[in-house]
């Protein structure tokens, strides 16, 4: 094992599967809910809502950690388009269950978990390496060394 890996901190959380599967990628974290229709650009997976803290940043290929969905009933359709365009997140972790986020996660078809036994907003920072094993209901966070 390299010295760098030895110095990394690993945290494991347990939760409930929303959509099965396993993915490992860099985290993108926001404490603000995200709008689908009118809130994201499905062509590049970026957040476009005017005053959103992720405005201009893309969730494509990232583990998106957020409270959940808000806004129009077009939420699932826009995340669905992200999947078709190859701009969907690699996995999703959310905290507030609604029909919008549940259907959205299902049609985005990426590993998704909720109801974690620790606060993801306290424990995960953007840039952390996160593995979501939704079938096992686990989230493994690797903190960079230092």
């Amino acid at each position: 094992m390299s010295e760098t890996a030895a110095q990394s901190r690993v945290i494991t959380l347990r939760g409930r599967k929303v959509v099965g599967g396993k993915a490992r990628a860099e985290a993108l974290v926001t404490t603000q809910t995200i709008s689908g229709w009118g809130g994201i650009n499905e062509r590049d997976g970026s957040v476009i809502e005017l005053h959103h803290e992720l405005n201009g940043q893309s969730f494509a290929g990232k583990v998106l950690v957020f409270p959940g969905a808000k806004g129009s009933s077009g939420w699932s359709a826009y995340f669905h388009m992200c999947r078709l365009n190859g701009t969907a997140p690699a996995a999703m972790i959310f905290t507030r269950m609604t029909t919008k986020i549940a259907l959205g996660a299902v049609v985005t078809r990426v590993p998704t978990v909720t109801d974690l036994d620790g606060d993801p907003f306290e424990l995960i920072e953007s840039g952390d390496l996160v593995e979501v094993d939704a079938d096992a209901g686990t989230v493994t966070i690797t903190k960079p060394p230092g």
């Binding site: 929303v18 009118g38 009933s73 077009g74 669905h80 507030r96 259907l103 959205g104 299902v106 049609v107």
Partner: protein
Amino acid sequence: MQLTDTEKAMRDGSNGPAVARSMDLLIRYGEALGAERLVETRNVAGAYNASTPSVRSLAEEGFGRVFSELNLDSDEVVEVPRMAVPTCQLITGIDLDNHELQGADPALVEMQRAGEKYLGKRGVNMMCTCTPYQVGNVPVQGEHCAWMESSAVIYCNSVLGARTNVEGKESTGAAGLTGRIPYWGLHRHENRLANRLIRVETEVNDMADWGVLGYFTGFEVEENNPAFEGLTYLPDLMKLKHFGAAAASSGGVEMYHMPGITPEAPTMDAAFGGTARPEAIVFGEAEKRRTWARLQNATDRKLDFVMLGCPHNSIEQMSLVAELLEGRKIHPDTALWVHTPRAIRQIADRSGYTDIIRAAGGEVMSDTCPSISRRMPEGVRVIATDSAKQAHYLPAIGKVQGWFGSVQQCVDSAVAGEWLGVVQ
């Protein structure tokens, strides 16, 4: 999730591949929610149309491909049979009679026309409005529905006492073909009770007041169920339509109670189901002024475009716009579009309202709105609207400045060519 024998048979293909794909999606969706079972519905309102550039490449492979992918989440292209239960189309992206004014791409107009034929053959009722409850789809109290469109969902639950969550494009496709939707959220009585209290301490009477109260409510309660006390004027369909659309835009409100007015709250105690009432959130003169100011996203007074009819206007609102415009001329540099469901437009035409609005230089539009179509007259920089919902969305979507005011202020400003509303 528990399934009945009929539902298991549908899943296993007894009613063909499209129904099997529908049931597969509903099971995945229900399990994601943590629902125990599905519930039967005979009232579905969804978005099945293909009128946006992003759908074009799918539509080139046929409308079966569009429906399979976007309404059933099915990779496999399945033959879509007739809807199993009454199903209607909500708002679309193109007004088929005014697409030139909208500046819509003729290829997309043809795609929309062909798509409507495909859907009509399958029993999708082409209401083409965000307000199906204005044109004949009026569920009864307690009826389980599967509706999209946040402004329609809040009206369906709160004003009509029917039961629906905010559904999506895929779940309404599957619901139309199976007559099922997850039994979760607002389908269950205990989730319909009030859990927030708003005390109104200022006059809420005209349309603009109701919009402002709704916009305030969404920010304050987010996705919770508010009950209201202190209302002194009885609202009507138009006011509750405007109020609910605003509350569903600034927050995610899907259910509210006005004791003595809405059907599930004969009393305040009934609204809370006997549970303790939380501390009241006050809506007074200061809150009204602050919320009014929050709806103004403009600085320039020279006005390019006035948008009326979000959610789509009732016939009474069409009559009022005609009355306000009679014998007047809209400023040549300003456009005015009034939006109403096509079925109501027929009544407006017959009553002479459309002619009056057009003689003044305005246009009557149906099927769509600028936020959904993303189309406005060319070169628009500053807009005004009497809708809190449109004032919330259009500046962000259309990258324009937006004023909010009463219908009278909007019409007078369209005639003057500049915003005459109050800046508080």
